[in-house]
């Protein structure tokens, strides 16, 4: 149940890339907790009472009443430039959630998991990776993360120098436009060969989570079906025009 709008205050922020920022928000009247993959509605209110609402994926498991979202700035957007560039610690907004009961990973599950993130579509997948660590899960995890260029990489340090709790997590970075020097794979969109090589075999019966822009989600989900994965075990989530998830 998403419940009511809850006041929240910005208690921390991290630049993740030149265009994306993680906001650490403390729900001042409490947060009911959430499952990895769920999202939250955010409401901003201007001085004159005008409001705007958007949905964002939760980027990390809750710590008490504190939640994290990662927001990608949409050029010309109404809400994301404020969240990425303007909002300062101590500023407030409202949150409602958690929302979404389908695109979620169950930390108690031992099934193998294949994650496919395109651009900021990695955000709910990162929540799953972090929840796996927090739950000390040993479930086999593969993350295929498609990103235009190295400077767009979110969670760079955390994905490169993985925490001890991340044993059993494999990460493959697929650059689509510009790759760091020495990268064996030439920059290209993720295709069936990448899904085959860097995902998990259909015979393992993994749960597959695919999140990103429509073209990415269509390509990866089609590739998974073509490779014999059960369509019922492929869960997708797409970006809307806002650049926010779904």
């Amino acid at each position: 149940m998403p419940g009511h709008w809850r006041p929240a205050v910005l208690v921390g922020a991290r630049a993740e890339s030149p265009t994306a920022r993680t906001l650490v928000l403390k729900a001042e009247e409490g947060w009911p907790g959430h499952r990895p993959g769920q999202h939250v509605d955010v409401r901003l209110t201007a001085e004159d009472g005008y409001t705007a609402q958007r949905s964002y994926s939760l980027a990390a498991p809750a710590v008490g009443d504190t939640v994290e979202i990662t927001v990608q700035r949409v050029p010309g957007g109404e809400v994301s430039p404020y969240l990425v560039d303007e909002m300062a610690e101590g500023d407030r907004l409202e949150v409602r959630g958690p929302l979404g009961g389908w695109f979620v990973w169950d930390p108690a599950s031992t099934d193998p998991v294949a994650l496919f993130g395109g651009g900021a579509g990695v955000v709910p997948l990162m929540c799953m990776v972090r929840a796996r660590r927090a739950a000390r899960s040993r479930a086999l995890f593969r993350l295929v993360y498609s990103v235009r260029a190295p400077d767009g990489l979110l969670y760079r340090a955390e994905l490169r120098e993985r925490a001890p709790g991340d044993a059993g997590l494999d990460v493959f970075l697929a650059y689509t436009r510009t790759a760091p020097e020495g990268t064996p794979r030439a920059p290209a969109r993720v295709g069936v060969a990448d899904v085959n090589t860097h995902g998990l075999p259909a015979e393992f019966g993994p749960m597959c989570f695919v999140c990103g822009p429509t073209g990415f989600v269509e390509a990866v989900a089609d590739a998974l079906v073509a490779l014999g994965h059960d369509p019922g075990r492929i869960r997708t989530e797409r970006f809307g025009a806002s650049g926010g998830p779904r």
């Binding site: 998403p2 409001t51 909002m87 369509p231």
Partner: protein
Amino acid sequence: MGIISRGFGGRRRTAEDARVPPGQYLTDGFPVLSAGPTPRVTEEDWRFSITSEAGDTVTWTWEEFLALPQERPHTDIHCVTRWSKLDTEWTGVGLDTLLESVDTAADFALAYSHGGYTTNLPLEDLAGGQAWVVHAFGGEPLAPEHGGPARLLVPHLYFWKSAKWIKGVRLLDHDEPGFWEQAGYHPYGDPWREQRYWGD
């Protein structure tokens, strides 16, 4: 007034404002929302069925469906994920036309799709010129990611009710929650009353 976000200006709309339900924003794009892979259905294999509460089924092939009177709804659509799109143009068959072939006194309907998706509606929301099975968008065949070959179009409700890849409609005496309706989304979904989630 609620919590003020210091420094947030926002972008107020003007004339179009009245057409945008609360909590929504306008988009010129056509975002895609679905829960799994896009089913690939050929027109050759396509069938559309309506099953009455008594269990009687009427089925149309693609050719039979295209031979029915075609309507061209021009309408605004509203997705629960907060985008609204104005002045969309569709081509398809009105549910009123399709329901003429069915003898029913049912109160509810459950639309079901290739890929397993379902969504529930009161039958009265499918009647009275409010709902269509559409096969073209903007004069072009409906793309698979948008529900092609054909999808339901019920624009007065949030767009998850407009089931993509529609396969048929079951008419029921009781309300049976569909896919998102079981997953926390509102059983009815009126955008003007902001019925997004359970309890709204």
